[in-house]
Symmetry: C2
Amino acid sequence: MKTTRLKDIAKNLGVSKTAVSRVLNNLPIRISKEKREAILNLAKSLEYRPNLIARGLRNKKTKCIGIIVPDMSTLFYPQLIRLIEKQLSLHGYRAIICDTENELSQERLYVEDLLARYADGMIVAPASGEGNISMFENLAKSLPIILMDRNFPGEKLNYVVTDNRLASRKAVRIIARKKPSHLFYLGEKKRNFAIDERLMGVREEASLKKIPFTGKDILLCDTTREDEREKSKQIFSRKVKNPAIFLESNRLLMGLLDIAYKRGLTIPEDFTVIGFDTFRPELATPSDFNSLKVINEPTPVVRQPVAEMAALVTEYMLSPGKRRKWRIKLKAQIEKQ
Amino acid sequence: MKTTRLKDIAKNLGVSKTAVSRVLNNLPIRISKEKREAILNLAKSLEYRPNLIARGLRNKKTKCIGIIVPDMSTLFYPQLIRLIEKQLSLHGYRAIICDTENELSQERLYVEDLLARYADGMIVAPASGEGNISMFENLAKSLPIILMDRNFPGEKLNYVVTDNRLASRKAVRIIARKKPSHLFYLGEKKRNFAIDERLMGVREEASLKKIPFTGKDILLCDTTREDEREKSKQIFSRKVKNPAIFLESNRLLMGLLDIAYKRGLTIPEDFTVIGFDTFRPELATPSDFNSLKVINEPTPVVRQPVAEMAALVTEYMLSPGKRRKWRIKLKAQIEKQ
DNA sequence: ATGAAAGCGCTAACAC
DNA sequence: GTGTTAGCGCTTTCAT
């Protein structure tokens, strides 16, 4: 199956490659109507398909955007990716997807490779840690880069994120209505600026609402189920009556519920919970069934504005005047009953 | 930020581009040790990064694989994509992701574009319908193509899928233990071969187990929540006592539970359910809370072997002797309490 | 052992 | 209006 090239059409019609190229690219160059149509027709009948690699080499534009995320196994990022990809594809861009597993080293490799492929830009939810900040800052000088979901301290890079601090404050305000005697914060050991802001918001609002909450009430776990469960145990072992538990991410929910179930504790009778929106895929499959029994009342959830985030990120990426500032914090909704 | 090219290194060292290329690509060409090292060093200090576009143009190999799926908003496909991408990236390949929204026309556009970009292969969970079969069959003659999750009737194309028929039969066998008086099948109007096989399996096993199940008991809905709920209503309106409901995909579960809740029906007291593994992301958020109360007992779930599927698909894609047959049906597990 | 030169398919500057 | 030509950065004969 030989592919047709510009040259073939040109030769076939006795015109120059240039002419063909100009017609096919709809350039505002006047050309005799007959030739134009002949070219168009032949291109169609020969099923001409421009070689995007050649074009890319020539133009230094590939119509490829790299999307870098820390974890595709959540619900949150695929959602984001899907919306972004759809928007990009409408404009002839393809998305190259890169799952860093939240590892800085992998992130660096992906970035390197995207550069080698001359991706036209990168949309990135960066891996936790500060190691790659300057890399991105340098990149941004020569390439459109926009952060999503997770930004960095400082304001050098463009981003679209949830206003995490505000969202957490709202969440604590909601949970405060239950008059908890104590607050616990269950999070991940691996930190990043965005989730630190969650913690900060919790601190602020807990203090405002006079809910007892100190450093000892912050439990950070390794990214393993065992440790998640272990830290959950530690919370309940404190024997605080009627505690509220803030989950930095709902990923942590199932482990917590499991432990609660084993101890015969229920929501809202014995404790309450609020968390950010991503949660375990396995949720509500038979294996988690018992844990679910712990919940006797809908638990509120911080729902991040995924659609807006995706839209704003792609808008930035596709808008010609990309260089302007684009630092956006979106408001989250607290979804409850 | 000028990027270094082969030429720069060559000129700088007074050697030829050829030499540099050969050293940097580790070709088995003998070259004096000093030159080799000089080249390697300079390349490193100049942060030489091969232009993959240029290389692609020359080699007609881009180290890009297209991954085409019908729906990224499920849990199933992102899982698959993530595992595949990780494997591909280990071998220097990047994944271009394409969400067709289960539309044949979009699928065609994506395929066209991937061809124009000289993707080295395509891994595809095809959109429902038979319209693009011959396109893929033709493609497969000149490009490694492998289907995943959904295959086509006939055996012209390579694939890795769940043995859907067998899985459904197993599922019905499980549900038969509950001695249902009747069986219903809740599925989607938009059909494809893979899910037709599910229906076929259900038919066979129902007949074997003598569970009443006829054409009228098959309800197929549009891909809208309203219609999903509508069809669920129709099932309960039949007033069959103790029915079993087979869900072609667990996407359909939440609508069903919602209707059941409103009618005061519960599992296992009033009906039973079994379904394939993907389910609504919203599951178990506050808005679905009431629906969840319908379930008083773990419902069995057909769990597809995602990891194996991903592994086998990439193995095919990356193995040099790709041309051999690769028609694999994997066994699913029924996961129950 | 090393290099010169051609060429992948396209676009754009510069003629005419 | 139309064509000629150069060149994007790389790999690969084919000489030497």
